[in-house]
Symmetry: C2
Subunit: 397 residues, 2 copies
Amino acid sequence: MEYKFSDKVSGLQASAIREILKFTADPEVISFAAGNPAPEAFPTERIAQISAELLRDDPILALQYSITEGYTPLREFLKGWMTEKGCFHKEFDDIIVTSGGQQANELSCKVLLNEGDTLLCESPSFIGSLNAFRSYNVNLVGVDMEEDGIDLAKLENALKTEKNVKILYLIPNFQNPTGRTMSLAKRKAVYELACKYDFIILEDDPYGELRFAGENVPSIKSLDTEGRVIYSSTFSKLISPGFRTGYVSAPAPVIQKMVVCKQVSDVHSNIWAQVVAHRFMTTIDREAHFNKLRAIYREKCDLMCGFIESGFSKEISYVRPQGGLFIWCTLPESCDMNAFCTRAVRDYKVAVVPGNSFSIRSDEVSHSFRLNYSTPTNAQIEKGMEILSRMTREMLG
Amino acid sequence: MEYKFSDKVSGLQASAIREILKFTADPEVISFAAGNPAPEAFPTERIAQISAELLRDDPILALQYSITEGYTPLREFLKGWMTEKGCFHKEFDDIIVTSGGQQANELSCKVLLNEGDTLLCESPSFIGSLNAFRSYNVNLVGVDMEEDGIDLAKLENALKTEKNVKILYLIPNFQNPTGRTMSLAKRKAVYELACKYDFIILEDDPYGELRFAGENVPSIKSLDTEGRVIYSSTFSKLISPGFRTGYVSAPAPVIQKMVVCKQVSDVHSNIWAQVVAHRFMTTIDREAHFNKLRAIYREKCDLMCGFIESGFSKEISYVRPQGGLFIWCTLPESCDMNAFCTRAVRDYKVAVVPGNSFSIRSDEVSHSFRLNYSTPTNAQIEKGMEILSRMTREMLG
């Protein structure tokens, strides 16, 4: 038979990064294209120990159906922890446990947007989120970024010209793909705009705890007095992405609708992972664990940045990230970025992600590419960056 | 601020069963309202053993990001197993692992239906699926059931009168809530109608392996020559519902779109559970395990049916199920079903689910209620059914 798909998904493509990742099946290729946490960052022994105790002493808890909102002790822990971080206002917020940070994006979109409503976001932005928004046929509008975050003048212009703006989607800390962090002044300004133009901010913060340089910047959620911020984060980078355990702190009426939508989507998230995450977070020295992770990513980032600074052609610019997993490099406008990335993986066997993978519109021209330092080993970073350095100098001088 | 939700979710309510389940927090209440597998059906020791080995020998596999389609060895196992069961046609089908059976419903709807398109289903039907369909603002039309499944004349009438019928949703084995099984003749007939009227059948089969009486009936998927059947099932009743691990066998182009939609929904399902499910299914004696489950549910069902036959007022009718988890009882039309269910839980401390929870339209009148025998212990079944028996005789004679 001939299959007719719904309007909302018929144009939807699998992540373009997956296409690049196909090349990385070649064992000769060194990949800076992924976004996986470093394997050495997983607290494998402690997870195994907690899991063994759980399945021995409380197997039915770990295996039976659970409630959609999430495992109650985990939600209670999150309320406390998020309060400490300024990300939970007990007067009006509630918490839902989600199947990874990704589900927070999808639920926000499904709950708040009709087809054709406008969702604003940073340009470029995380492809997984963009595709979630696209899958609801919303009017997706990108706003250019500066070094310290979204361009406020362009944002206000979009707010004046676009119709039915319901959500502004932001990754304020170590943004994917740019690695940039939004300044406190801009966080305050976008919150004021949200109040003035009556929209909701979806603050996606998967990397916030992975700050290895500079000073912590308060979240936009911490500035939320009117209940306008949906704050989402995840245990993917702190414990394990395979868990698919994330969480959202948002005004109770929004959480209530998210619960109804999550119920019809997957009933609840894997409960073994929720219980393990709860026991892990409440029995370890959290700061010591986070410091260990920060040290791993600081070392890898420093190693990669060292090569960019001493080895790359001076024609390539970048902003050194203060945390997270990614570095964003920009080629001179004379250089064909797609040709550069294709040549890198085909001829030099080093995979990077072409910047237009993160574009909001398909007709945008990007001159940038994304490097990831969390997944490769230090030896792979050294070898791959030496090759890339040579290639950039040969091509650009 | 005042929250405005999307049209598709603003009318959506949490499952009405949850309201009933609130009463069951009272420890005095005996609940026949749930739908959980029997705790004694969980293979807890084997799961603990497999998990311990996995987290010891291959922790990164269990904790790192994985691919959206599902863990490859699990998909390969499923292709073989589903082929044996006639539910996978290697010429045109593919497999995706989902976050429980529930996600299969949501993905099918998102991939194939625009708002306003028609989805037909049995009336009554499973509330979780109905709410998934409602959350996409589709035209949901119920078709009455007979003892051997959907009423074919009424189905064909709906096909002639409803516009843009894209999907017929069916639970052919031990349907939730009625416990009824569709005859082979009707399965053949609905497949022919699908070919004639050009729609897709979504065959939801969570209980198929839990047949404890009567002869196995071939799946509709096994009759699929044109690639018109999306077959979904789950490990929830065979291993653990807390895993949230289900699967879909469907034509490759449909699976491809489901993969894209699942990617934006939760990236992939919890990978620990996928690996444990694969190792469990490929290392145990499957038939012996299923026979153990069937024996548990046969005993519980027989126990409950015994009370209905010898204790209930003769005014109450029911069809004895041949498998699954539920019994559907119908009161005489003179009896107010909602008053009956409320009185049962409030005055007699026995919870059952009012039949209108499974209605397609809110204005439908139901005279039935659903009993579950899988969750209560045998002692609870005995005590609760004695009370219910007494109550039915007091009320109905």
